[in-house]
């Protein structure tokens, strides 16, 4: 039997936060929630409080100077988690404005301690702690006793078995603020503004004894409260690919042949081509073929008017619930948010086929602050999706440049396991389409450039053009063979 202390971890009730914290909030910890005005500190505190407080484990919320309590109650009520019945029952508000105004930290501490002793709360919140700091500075005493105050508060709250949150603002990260040393946890909220876009980010700068997820995590505030988009957990033991790999039919028999028998399951496939070359049609056919074989799928559409770009087959599949639609037109998306939307839809439908249509739209949907890291983001998305065991088809708009052979505008071709490229060519005053399989990882595939056309039944793949050369340049010429001369 282990004689080490067991630290209970509290479920915060904030979606995604427990994952970011590395498994919940350590009980009896002394935490600081910091960040600039309007970044959601008070909301975060309230959401955790309403989730955690029970009559047996009540919460005390000390309001100090700053946001007037009337207003705080008025605005916090707008969130779904706010429950009036909990007030004065499992949740108690205590106003310390008068004590703080006097600037006597000893008196503030005494008030807090006496309330804590009276109510024995399991959770204590002090909002906003900055007011306490400021009040202490108005004292004539130049050696203000803030460090001592924080030290004592931290010690008292922990021995009183209360999980404590100080809510503060304006702290600079490099500050040698005594709170940083005493606190067990530092939750930093930020608002990143770039051009017209604003993205909320959260960072766990410190959480003693916890394997927190490093870095900035995006979150949103909606009427349901705060939702943190934790990165999708990577499955450390990815299911080994079966040999021979099971292959998925694409819905176009000739294309299956070209791919060497279909798309290996769990592969990511990039379909690159110019506008109007039939990428979306191929994607819809891919999903429809899955449904025909009893599979389900998910499509993420990043277009301004998704309903207008859908073809009838796809619309019917979505209507019938065989294909899930991820159509987030929320502004300023982050990669983790999109991955989470996709994974929850995949999970809901037990989907095996996923389509992202298109990467160009996806890039536009991302908040500008993430666009610089687009390749990285894409790589994480592909890893998360294929890690979930699904096969992914992504379309990519390709500007037709006849002088160079490119497969994606992002230099992302290496991220995918398979690539199909589509191009326009000019032959005898007609605009024809050709298609080729460029890559299928660990598999034999066709090297043919095949003509294809689009009709009411989808893609129809035709023959090669053996008597033409220079197809990839867009303006092929007739081969001059010995036969022609003879």
């Amino acid at each position: 039997m282990s004689t080490k202390v067991t630290i209970n971890r509290l479920a915060t009730g904030v979606p995604g936060l427990d994952e970011v914290l590395g498994g919940g909030l350590p009980e009896f910890s002394f935490n600081l929630i910091a960040g600039p005005p309007g970044c959601g500190k008070t909301t975060l505190a309230h959401q955790m409080m309403f989730a955690l407080a029970t009559p047996e484990r009540p919460a005390l919320f000390f309001t100090v100077l700053g946001e007037p309590p009337l207003k705080m109650l008025r605005y916090q009520q707008q969130f779904d988690f706010f429950d009036s019945e909990a007030i004065n029952h499992s949740i108690r508000y205590v106003n310390l404005a008068d004590d703080t105004l006097a600037g006597d930290l000893d008196e503030v501490l005494r008030r807090i301690v006496s309330e804590v002793e009276t109510h024995s709360p399991a959770l204590v919140f002090v909002d906003s702690f900055r007011s306490v700091v400021l009040a202490s500075q108005t004292q004539d005493n130049p050696n203000n006793n803030l460090p001592q105050f924080v030290q004592q508060l931290g010690m008292l709250m922990t021995t009183w078995q209360a999980t404590t949150f100080l809510i503060g603002e304006y702290f600079t990260e490099t500050d040698t603020n005594p709170i940083f040393t005493v606190a067990d946890g530092l939750i930093w909220l930020r608002q990143s503004v770039q051009r017209n876009s604003m993205v909320r980010k959260m960072e766990i700068m410190k959480m003693r004894g916890q394997p927190t997820l490093p870095g900035l995590h995006t979150f949103r505030i909606a009427t349901s409260g705060i939702k943190v988009f934790a990165p999708a957990p990577l499955n450390p033991v990815e299911a080994p690919l079966q040999f021979p790999a099971k292959r998925l039919k694409m819905g176009v028999p000739q294309l299956d042949e070209m791919l060497g028998g279909g798309l290996p399951r769990g592969y990511s496939l990039l379909v690159a081509g110019p506008s109007g070359s039939g990428k979306s049609i191929l994607a819809a056919t891919f999903l429809a073929e899955g449904v025909r074989n009893g599979e389900t799928g998910v499509i993420a559409v990043f277009e301004q008017r998704p309903n207008h770009s859908q073809n009838a087959t796809l619309a019917n599949l979505i209507q019938a619930g065989k294909v899930g639609l991820v159509d987030s037109r929320a502004p300023d998306l982050s990669i983790d948010e999109i991955v989470q939307l996709l994974l929850s839809e995949i999970d809901r439908l037990k989907a095996t086929r996923v389509v992202i249509d298109s990467l160009s739209g996806f890039e536009l949907a991302l908040a500008p602050t993430f666009r610089e890291d687009f390749r990285e983001s894409l790589s994480r998305m592909v890893t998360a999706l294929t890690g979930a065991g699904v096969s992914v088809l992504m379309t990519s708009e390709l500007e037709d440049r006849y002088t160079d052979l490119r497969f994606s505008p992002y230099g992302t071709a290496f991220l995918t396991d398979a690539i199909i490229v589509q191009r326009y060519i000019e032959v005898q005053s007609r605009l024809l389409r050709i298609m080729a399989v460029v890559k299928v990882r660990a598999s034999a595939h066709s090297d043919e450039l095949r003509l294809y056309r689009i009709d009411d039944n989808g893609l129809q793949i035709g023959e090669m053009l053996p008597d033409q050369e220079g197809l990839l340049g867009g303006r092929p010429t007739r081969q001059h063979t010995v036969l022609d001369n003879g």
């Binding site: 007037p68 309590p69 009337l70 109650l73 009520q77 009036s84 004065n88 205590v94 106003n95 404005a97």
Partner: protein, 157 residues
């Protein structure tokens, strides 16, 4: 005299008919008791205000309560010009001793009407700020105990 009280009651009932105002009026009446002399009315109103203050001060602070009280007085005066004189004389601070001394100079009917309007206005003001359910939750104990021992009308055969 009694007729006049009834008339005022009637007027008041026409202006505020919510369940909460009925509860507030009933609570005040219960605190006043059967012998409604002016001293008891004044005392009942003052203790009700004290109880409301006691319920709200820990949450919104002393200053918050005073601000709500002043706003209530102001709203009462503009909605009921007939009593404006009375409201004017109790304005400014939450001085309940001063309030009491003003009240005892009124007729019983006026004092009761004044009290009912003031409490209802205060309640409705708080409702506009933090919503009906939270207001009811915070002030439940102010009306609660006095009403719990009055026979419920629903139980009538």
């Amino acid at each position: 005299m009694y007729y006049r009280v009834l008339t005022i009651r009637y007027q008041f009932a026409m202006t505020a008919q919510s369940e909460e105002s009925r509860q507030i009026v009933a609570s005040l009446a219960h605190r006043v008791g059967p012998n409604a002399d002016i001293a008891r009315i004044a005392q009942a109103l003052v203790t009700t205000l004290q109880d409301m203050g006691a319920a709200l001060t820990p949450i919104i602070g002393q200053q918050g309560v005073v601000a709500l009280y002043r706003r209530s007085i102001h709203l009462c005066a503009s909605n009921h010009p007939r009593l404006a004189g009375t409201y004017d004389s109790v304005q400014s601070t939450l001085d309940l001793i001063a309030l009491k001394s003003v009240l005892v100079e009124q007729s019983e009917a006026d004092a009761l009407f004044f009290g009912e309007v003031l409490l209802t206005t205060f309640y409705e003001l708080l409702t506009t700020l933090i919503g009906p359910s939270l207001t009811a939750r915070l002030l439940r104990d102010v009306w609660g105990p006095s009403l719990s021992d009055t026979p419920s009308q629903e139980i009538s055969p």
